[in-house]
Amino acid sequence: MGQTFAQKMLAQKAGLREVEPGQIVTVRPDKLLTHDNTAAIAKIFREIGVEKVARPEISVIVLDHVVPAATEGHARNHQQIREFVREQGIASFYDVGEGICHQVLPEKGHALPGYLIVGSDSHTPTHGAFGAFAAGIGRTEAAAVMATGEIWLMVPHTFRMSVKGQLQKGVYAKDIILYIIGELGADGADYRAVEFTGPVLGEMTIASRMVLCNMVAEMGAKIGVAEPDDKTRAWLNGRSDAGFQEVFADPDASYERAIEYDVSGLVPQVAKPHTVDNVVPVTEVLGTRIDQAFIGTCTNGRLEDFRVAAQILGGGKIAPTTRLLILPASREVLLAAVVEGIITELITAGAVVLNPGCGPCLGAHQGVMAPGEVTISTANRNFKGRMGCKEAQVYLASPATVAASALAGEIVDPREFL
């Protein structure tokens, strides 16, 4: 019997010939990702009573959650992390301004095909877009990985999702994944691995594959993965000196579910407040008044996202009752958008450009909302209070839908603006 991607990866990393779903294995990850929570993790690490990090070469630390520091408390937190980095000799440290961890890791060559990546952030599955097995973990276990270089993982069952058809103009990877989450529900893939495949995946950019893998977390999945291909290799070219071995599922692997999606008839999708699986076609929420539009985050803060935003907003002005926030996922993305002239177009249209980081997505700073306000966002979560106020509402959509809505001051169908 053939093996799924998850089975092959975990068997390899555990030094076993084969593993079965449900089995618990102890593995040696290739990378450990932590962010602003590294200070709390370092504290637990010290309490374990180990002096030196077991494998400092696997540790990648990115300051992204509240950058630059919003308060003295955040600043002290960052300070403690810098001290820990120095003390432990951790080479892969990216300070304020470099970007969001899920963009910085691939850019700096830390997310490679066949890698096992664990990260103390729930959107770690993003790195599956490069053919890595990448799963979110908690703080205590991140400290344990620092202490031992190992972690326990359960071998997940796998859903194989094959995406075929022809995406219509104005419909993107974000609409596909919102549709899937709406169909399966917020726990529809709980503890499962999701393998994305099919002709639409092959045609997709790496950035779009990252959108799919990023949001598997919103249906409970442990990982999402796209098969590496020439596009993956070209994207990674020159970013790392480390060798890597691509891992593919066997053709006769056994899947818990195999689901086919034909996206030819798919229209732009929107997740309504306050759950990500509360998904409807955009046509059902047309005319919903918005106060704020937000384009960015680890889901949709990449060059292609700002390109489509500039295409829609270029030469126009956002509605006077609406604020538009632009948040590039990394310094590299921001620079490329500056060079292309996209940032000029967006600022001229009325946007506020924020520095690379997590920004308003988690409601800690930059663009926090007031009671009764409505934001349409390209982020991955719309939980009650997510953007800092429990009497506010967050809708989730693609960058095109958000950009068009910013122009109109209400939710509109982006297909009429392209």
Binding site: I44, E141, A147, D187, D190, G220, T275, R386, K390
Partner: protein
Amino acid sequence: MTDEFVFKGRAWVVGDDIDTDMIYHGSYLPLTDPKEMAKHALEYVPGMEDFTERVQPGDILVAGKNFGSGSSREHAVITLQYNDVAAVVAESFSRIFYRNAVNLGFPILEVPGITRELDTSDELEVDANTGRICNLTKGTEVQGTPLSGLEKEIMTAGGLFNFLKKDMQTVE
């Protein structure tokens, strides 16, 4: 495991998809003192706003599907632990909450259909060893899935931290 893992307490029943922002909102992430963190447990769950004033030590939280979805924050477990909630019994757990509970030594039990079987304030006896739950108020019993293997070892050690410390002492 010993009697330590048999709990008697009152049930608090909540619904499906209780996410980590409802259990412990993101705006409180900067708090580091668990006693301060405890003041905000379940604050965003509709109808549970005064939970921290009314909860009694040993009470048992009973939830529907997908409890703890969303963020990887451990605060969601810690805030319940520091309210002396004895255990969470749910129809299903989201993956990272489940891991965090095991790694922090917080008893959890999966019992499909559990929310149909009982009401808030019912007196329960939960045996995390066997997975058996007795509803002392209604005189009914249901069977859940107890932890096993490495997960159980970590849980009984009081969490990953103590498990590792023990492990490291053996190595030394």
